[in-house]
Amino acid sequence: MQILLSILIAALVSGSLYALVAAGLSLVWGTLGVFNFAQGALLMIGAYVAYYFGGKALGRSGLLFGLPTGLIMLGLLGVVLYFLLVRPFVGSPTGELSVIIATLAASTFLENGAQQFFGATFRKLPPVLTGHLSISGNSVDWQQVIIIVVAPVILLGLAAFLKYTKTGFAVRAVAQNEQSALLLGIPVSRIYMFVFFVASLLAALAGILFGGQFFVTPSMGGDLMLQAFIVVVFGGLGSLTGTVMAAYIVGLITAASNYYIGLFWTPAVLFAFLFIAVIVRPSGLVASNK
C-alpha cells in the first residue's frame, strides 16, 4: 500500500509536469500547425530567470518576485522566438521541417548559452512551499502537493479560457480554419503570438516547479522534453484532452518503471510502450483534426 501510494505520488508529480510542457506543444501545434522543439529550452531558461530574479538572493520570499518575472519574461521570449523562427516559415511548402530545424537550433543556442553564462553547476530554486506532510506513513513534500494541484488547475483554466472567452473562441477558430478566421476579421497573426506567449509561459511554469523540487541545470529541459515528445505522440497533437490524459499515463509508466524495473531502463520501457502505441493507434489517443 505504502509503495503503491508513493508510486502514485511520483506518477502525479511527473504527469503534472509533462502535462504542462506537452500542453504548450499541443496548443501551438493545434493552432499554427508547427512544432516547437525549443519548448524544453524555454522551460530551462524560465527556471534560470526565476533563479536570478529572486530565488537566488531572497530565498522563498524572493520567489514571489522570481516566479511572475520568470513567467512573463518567458512569455515574451516565446513571442520573440515566434517572430524570428516561426513566422518567416509558416505556410511555405517546406515550413513544417524548417520550423522544426529552426526551433531545434534555438534550443541548441539557449542550452549552450546557459552553459556559457550560467555555468553547468546544479542550482536549486526554493520550493513554493517548504516542509512535508505525511499521508498514511508516506512523507510528501508540500512542493509535490503544489505541483499536483497547480498543473490541473492551470490546465483546466486554460481549457475554460479556450472554451468561454472571446480570445479563446478566436484561438479555436484559427485552429479550425485559418482562412475563414481571417475573413471573420480575427487578427490571426496576433492569435499566433498569443498562443506562443501562453505555451512558453506554461513551459516556464513547469521549469520553475521542477526547479523547486529537483535541480536547475542547462540540460534540464532535455529530459522533460523527451517525455513530452512521448506524451504528444501518444496523446495525439492538437487535442488538449488527449495530451493531458497521455501525460498522466506516461507519468504513471515512468514512476512504475523507475520503481519496479529501474531508473536506467525507464527510457527503454517508455520507448517500447510508445512503439506499441504507435502501431496500435497511430493517430494518438484522441484523434485530432489536423
Binding site: F35, E96, L97, T108, Q115, F229, P267, L274, P282
Partner: protein, 322 residues
Amino acid sequence: MKQLSWRRASVALAVILVVVLLPLAVTSTYYRNILIVGLLYAVVASSWDLTLGYAGVFNFAQVATFGIGAYATGILALRGVPPIIAMLLAVMLGVAFNGLVAIPVLRLRGVYVALLTFGAAQLVGSVALGWTSVTGGSTGLVLVPDLVVGQFDFNFSPVAYVYLSEGLLVVTLAFLHWLVRSPFGLSLLAGRDAEDYAASRGVPLGRQRVLALAIGAVFAAASGAVFAMYLSSASPTIFGFSTATLVLSMVLVGGAGTVYGPAMAAVILTVLQNTRQVAGLGPVTFMIIAVLIVLVLRFLPGGLWDFTKRGSRGRRQVAVGR
C-alpha cells in the same frame, strides 16, 4: 555529347588527384586529424541527405546510427572480435536499428516522424550512458584495438586513415550520385513531392522509405565504425544534442537534396569549428552554429551548393523536404 564526356573525364581525374595528393599535402598531425573527422562527418551528412532531403522523411536518428556504428565496433573489438568483422557487424546493427525505427515511422507522418526518431536517438544515447558495464558509461570506450589488415596496422601509418575515410566518402558520394538519379531515387522524390499521386501510380512508398533509411544507415554506421577505429575510443558525446545539431547544420548549410553540398559543408564546418580561435570558444561555437542554421534556412534555403550552382545550369532546385 563529346563535351560531356570530356567534362566527366576531367572531373574524375581531378577527384583522383585530390584523393591521392591530399593526404600527402596535409602533413601536420593536427590538421590531418581535422581532415579525417571532417571526411567522416561528410559521409554521415551526405547519406543523411537521402532520407531528409530526397525522401522527405524527417529522420533525426542519423547521428545516433553513426554512434551505434562507433560503439558497436568498439565494444566488439574490445571483446576480441577481429576489427574488420566488428566493423561489418556494426554496420548491420546500424541498419537493423533503422529497420526497427522504420516500423512505427511508416505509420506516422511529418512531425511525428521527427519526434519518434528523435526519441529513438535519445534512447540510444541514454543506453550508451547508462549501460556502464558494456559501454563504459560517461567515460565511453577506450583502448579499442588497432585496425590491422594482414600485416598492415592502420593506426601506425600517418596517412592510412586519411585514405580510408577519403575512400569511404568517394564510395558514398558516387553511390548516392547514382542512386538519386536512378528510378529508385526518382520514386523517393515523387513520394516526397506528390505523395498521393506517387502512390496512385504504384510507387510502393513504404518500401522505398524503409530502403532509404537502411541505405542511409549503411554509410552512417560505416563512418562510425571507422571513427571508433581511428580514435581507438568512443565517447557518449556522439549522442549529444550538440553533435546532432552540428551534422544537421552541415546538411542544411551545404544544401539538402544535393548530396555533394552536405559533404562539402561537413569538411568546411569541421575545419572552421576546429581552428584554434573557434575551438577555444566552447559552448559559444554551438551558439554560432545555431545562428548559422537559422540564417541559412531563412536566406539561403537551397544551401551553399545550390548558391554556387545558381545560374550556371538550369538545374531543378531541390529544397528541404519539399
